[in-house]
Amino acid sequence: MKKDLKKVRNIGISAHIDSGKTTLTERILYYTQRIHAIHEVRGKDGVGATMDSMELEKERGITIQSAATYCSWKDCDVNIIDTPGHVDFTIEVERALRVLDGAVLILCSVGGVQSQSITVNRQMTRYKVPRIAFINKCDRTGANPFRVMQQLRDKLDLNAVMIQLPIGLENDLQGMVDLVTMKAIYFDGDQGDDIRYEAIPFDMLEEAESRREELLDAVSMFSDELMEAMLEEADIPESMVHEAIRRGTLSLELTPVMIGSAYKNKGVQLLLDAVNAYLPCPTDVENTALDLDKDEAEIVVSNNPDDPLVALAFKLEDGRYGQLTYIRTYQGLIQKGDTIVNSRTGKKAKVGRLVRMHANEMEEIDGAGSGDIVALFGIDCASGDTFCGGGVNWSMSSMHVPAPVISLAIKPVDNKAQINMSKALNRFTKEDPTFKTFVDHETSETIISGMGELHLEVYVERMKREYNAEVEVGAPQVAYRETITQRAVFDYTHKKQTGGSGQYGRIGGFLEPLEEGEYEFVDNIVGGVIPREFISSCDKGFQKSLVKGILTGAPITGVKVTINDGSFHAVDSSDIAFQLAAIGGFKQGYSKAMPVIMEPIMKVAVEGPSEFQGAVMGSLNQRRGVIIGTFEEGAYTVVEAEMPLAEMFGYSTTLRSLTQGKAEFTMEFATYKQVPKGVAEELVKAFEAKKKDA
């Protein structure tokens, strides 16, 4: 079962929506002989691309969930994680990036670097993922790979270097010149299966020479031998250039740029060669785990198959045969019949069926070595859990999970839907840490919350299709928060001493705004005016008060509570009495501390033709946005703005009609900001009206 880890590649393919990621993956699977016919994303044959296994994805032509797929190219085993392109699903992208060793960043040769590419690139940098850029769609009208490469340098701050040149562009795209081997490469046959190597066309020779110089200059930084060979003007062997490019790529200081057109079957095989040649194998990257027995000390995982198993469950799927758990192993072996321990829950589980996934089809295997990506059946866990084998209790470092910013009330239409809905919600919350659900006790409605309108929409849609749970959807609600803006003192006595055992507690102190963090409790009680055992009751009482603010019922954050005074009664003081005193005290202080409502502010980027720039800015301005700036390049403009989420509902429709569908926008959570007075008053009024109704 031991295999050469140098021959394993775990790669991700990520890019802006519609830059042809799924098409490219489909071609890769075809050339690596995992599939025998190519289906287009929006194909007429009704089959749809193999990676888009969810029906909804097929219908919308976008890939929502990252499916892991295995294939082999030449002598390497390649695991591909297809990642979603829409920013609303970034948790999926981030989670996929965590288990990858390298990535292919796909760009459209016309659209170039768009805002989603910027987000994805930032995430890749955060997780230190080496990458190759592939400029796709070179057959489209307006293709300009050189412009895109320049954008990679300017916008993404990558040291991008072309290692290929296109022969012809747009409709006339014939093939490409490889600047390492200095050969022209053409793709013959219906599906581009036959690769033909030829001499570089005469009219391109000069350009190719100068581009090769550029390439060598850039990569010689990473190889002393190459530098020497260049200085001595000796012949430069291909392997030396390959090695230098590989070193540069692994150090994240170089991004080789490839070109092609997946749709026209050009350049895909060369990209696969580059994946084998330049992207890291599992031992090239350092991954760290946290030792739970040693106070979460960081340890580097060994990649050694002889060490105890450490594997991360990065994705769950609910298939026909129960829960399917995708795992990535970091060290050790996993084999059928092994006992593994979930380090979060401490529960033991036995490995039953073990499979290698190919989108929707699976291949049964007996075991997998370290650095591999496989799927397990019948293991109960949540995504992000770590599994360990004998002796170690490690956890792969926790992933960055943003808090949800938007919520919806959902109501099942009938009894059957009710049961199915709870099944579906249970599944979704396990799969996606940014998707949360709870029951509002006041309205007894089920609330789902997530990262954006589309994010929730997709889950509602999935509930209907996959679980047959029809639900009615309420209007989306923004996750407001409340906070205080000034210091305020309180002194509150809770007293109930009429017959029977009484309650008594007095508590004094002050509230202060907290710049960072949600809540802080400071105990400055001296002389035992509040007995030790009741201090934690006070803390508990304050925390209970934070759940619902007075203005709109939104949770309160950013408050520091200090208590410095109080009194008690020998018999009547109790835990509950001090909790109630704290709640009363908080209420008293809160209303004096100038409470305000905070709303989520999104960073929005609208991209489109320059002629619509005025209209776009007008529409953002109307929605209480602050326009940060515009970026103009030729006929193409990006407007960046900070927008309140509450104003962004239905913006995609507005934008479409304003710009004849030529502009698109992306949105990402930025920060919380105070709601302007007028809007705040309306929110308070609405809350009060709702309270009266209830």
Binding site: K155, N621, I628, G629, T630, F631, E632, E633, G634, V638
Partner: protein, 231 residues
């Protein structure tokens, strides 16, 4: 509003200039001395006086330009205690708009179109225009006169930055170095930044309100914030 120290220590305020409308200013220096920092300081000064600023950045990204403002504001906030710093940051964001252009995309007609877009829809009414990164080597007199006209019709103030090179010894009779030695009459104010030995920057005014200033005034600035170091 409690922003007095910022206002007082601004190099422009000390020199008592930059207040009139319809004028054009120029900041010149060799690369890396802080032209952009001074321009941002000029913009911040205008914003603190309640004006609105358009910051045109040629060949730079929005993100980078925004970082300039954030960094300088942060430096200022560290040195002066200000109540509610968030309000100041917020106000700066609301009174500033960044426009970035690719080198070739910046022309008067483009700029005019963009400004009109903003003004007609009442999105943003700028009083001051900052142009950073315009290449004076390739900008001819006509283009600059064009922009000057535009500023006059729009009743706006404009500030430019220009790089001068160590090797280039061309200089105008009034002491304005190349590449602006033949354009100096178009500007109402020209400031030259020079490095000093003790890691400060000296600010010389060559031209003020059209009149030539004899010897200028040697003000010392802190190179990170472009605030006056000592008076």
């Amino acid at each position: 509003m409690g922003y007095e120290p910022l206002v007082q220590q601004n190099p422009l305020r000390v020199l008592n200039m930059g207040r009139e409308n319809n004028q054009m200013g120029l900041v010149m220096a060799r690369a890396g001395l802080g032209k952009t920092a001074l321009l941002v300081q000029i913009a911040l000064d205008a914003i603190l006086r309640g004006k609105r600023v358009i910051h045109v950045s040629i060949g730079e990204s929005i993100e980078k330009t925004k970082t300039w403002y954030d960094d300088i504001l942060q430096c200022i906030l560290q040195e002066h205690t200000i109540n509610r710093p968030h309000e100041l940051i917020d106000m700066v964001a609301r009174h500033r708009m960044i426009m970035t252009f690719k080198v070739a995309a910046f022309t008067r007609s483009r700029l005019e179109e963009r400004l009109n877009d903003l003004i007609l829809q009442d999105i943003f009414r700028p009083n001051c225009l900052i142009v950073d990164g315009l290449d004076f080597e390739t900008t001819d007199r006509e283009a600059l006169e064009d922009i000057k006209n535009l500023m006059e019709t729009m009743n706006m103030q404009a500030w430019f930055s220009a790089i001068c090179h160590r090797g280039d010894t061309r200089i105008s009779p009034t002491g304005v170095p190349a590449p602006c030695h033949e354009l100096d009459d178009l500007f109402d104010m020209i400031i030259l930044l020079k490095p000093e030995r003790d890691a400060t920057i000296q600010l010389d005014i060559i031209r003020n309100y059209g009149a030539q200033v004899e010897g200028g005034k040697g003000l010392l600035l802190d190179p990170t914030t472009m605030m006056v170091k000592e008076m």
